[in-house]
């Protein structure tokens, strides 16, 4: 792995974690609206963001109050979504979709089965998906637009 790729991934991870920690009350728990999830659009600009986001999510969960299950499922969801976003990088409007789906379908059931949130399964899924959509489409899409014009920094 080239050093530049490694370092790019590392700073993306660091930015993700920094933003998550900064907005701590919002970032953890059932009512998650992670501003840092807006960064999930980055794989469209650089493949280093795939491991970067995975590590970022992993570290953020590790440093936060959530359990081991969150750490594993959360980061896995992020990894899968990042891979998909990368594949969709030529369709900007679809780029934020994978994280919405992945988190909804993985974190949603986690909330239902592990945290025993006593609302129906479909409500859990929808709730998580909604929080993700706000971050990924509301912040992520404009971010993607701005950063697309600055592609040179990703070389």
């Amino acid at each position: 792995m080239k050093t530049k790729y490694l370092v790019h991934g590392a700073v993306i991870a660091a930015v993700y974690t920094a933003l998550t920690l900064l907005l701590m009350p919002l970032s953890y728990g059932v009512m998650q609206i992670r501003v840092s999830e807006a960064l999930t659009v980055l794989p469209a600009l650089s493949p280093a963001a795939i491991p970067g986001l995975f590590i970022g999510c992993f570290v953020a969960n590790m440093l936060g109050p959530n359990g081991m299950i969150d750490i594993i499922l959360g980061s896995s969801a992020t990894l899968l979504a990042a891979l998909a976003s990368y594949k969709l990088r030529n369709r900007p409007l679809l780029v934020p979709l994978p994280p919405v789906l992945a988190n909804g379908l993985i974190i949603g059931p986690m909330l239902y089965y592990v945290y025993a949130v006593p609302v129906p399964l479909w409500a859990c899924i929808l709730w998580v998906a909604l929080g993700e959509a706000i971050a990924c489409y509301g912040i992520g899409l404009p971010l993607l637009r701005y950063m697309s014009k600055r592609k040179s920094i990703f070389r």
Binding site: L6, A10, V35, M147
Partner: protein
């Protein structure tokens, strides 16, 4: 505000738990969580609480810190507890106004609530007694057998280490940028959700530019020191298993065995 964020939850100490190899701790935490989901009744939980308490005692981490980890999800626990209590159908015990508390509801509320608490405490023991750097090392070693099937264990661990090192730096950068934009009239606080979301662009874009500038410098520095990846790279502090790790592993296996027996045989 930024200055008060303590990174991660590591509580410095030199207890027997602190001294365990991180790999042992990671695997044991996994095992512990699995066993939590094998427990079927409160007796099983009682055994778990006894085991957990002894571990906490050995770790010399003050109870205050243990419970601090529960604070952020305190409301979730209360929420889970309350809704389970009122919404489970079954044999009615008490009726308050239009809310019904059933026997099953009460049982479920306590069961789920307790399991959640034990889950969080168990996981935080891992992060409380292990420095993030050592955790990363442990993960890398545990994953290295998977290199044969293409998992880049070293690179991922390296990425994690670098990320950890830069989080404080980036937190400072974020603070500086936030203040600079606020001095130009940027408002991150008022407005509806969508408007506030957009107001983050003047924060995120400069943050990225700064982050990549730092990345550039770091990449150059690493290559100037002949970094070429993980093959044949040696370690300064080699990780070795001690008899303590064997002891801990046996204790863990014993614990799971007892739980299984209690839940399925007796």
């Amino acid at each position: 505000m930024i200055r008060d964020i303590t990174l991660g939850q590591y509580y410095p100490g030199d207890s027997k738990i602190h001294g365990l190899d991180p790999r042992t701790k990671i695997i044991c935490t996994f095992a512990y969580i699995i066993s939590l989901f094998l427990v079927r009744d409160f007796l099983g939980f009682a055994i778990t609480v006894a085991f957990l308490s002894y571990t906490i005692f050995l770790s010399k981490v003050p109870l205050k810190f243990i419970f601090k980890g529960l604070k952020p999800i305190f409301f979730i626990i209360i929420f889970t507890f309350t809704v389970n209590m009122f919404m489970t159908k079954g044999e009615t015990l008490v009726e308050i106004w239009f809310l019904t508390i059933t026997k099953e509801g009460l049982y479920n509320a306590f069961f789920m609530g307790l399991r959640l608490i034990l889950l969080i405490i168990g996981s935080s023991l891992l992060t409380l007694t292990t420095k993030p750097i050592n955790l990363t090392d442990g993960i890398e070693r545990l994953l290295s057998p998977f290199r044969k099937i293409g998992v880049p264990a070293h690179e991922l661990a390296m990425m994690m280490t670098i990320a950890l090192r830069f989080i404080p730096t980036l937190l400072e950068e974020t603070d500086k940028i936030m203040k600079a934009q606020m001095a130009r009239g940027a408002d991150f606080e008022t407005g509806n959700l969508l408007r506030r979301a957009k107001s983050l662009i003047p924060l995120l874009v400069p943050l990225f530019i700064s982050a990549f500038r730092i990345a550039q410098d770091l990449a150059m520095a690493m290559e100037a020191r002949c970094y070429r990846g993980g093959d044949h790279r040696t370690r300064m502090n080699a990780m070795r298993f001690h008899w303590r790790d064997a002891l801990a592993s046996f204790a863990m296996i014993g614990f799971i065995a007892i739980i299984l027996l209690q839940a399925y045989v007796f």
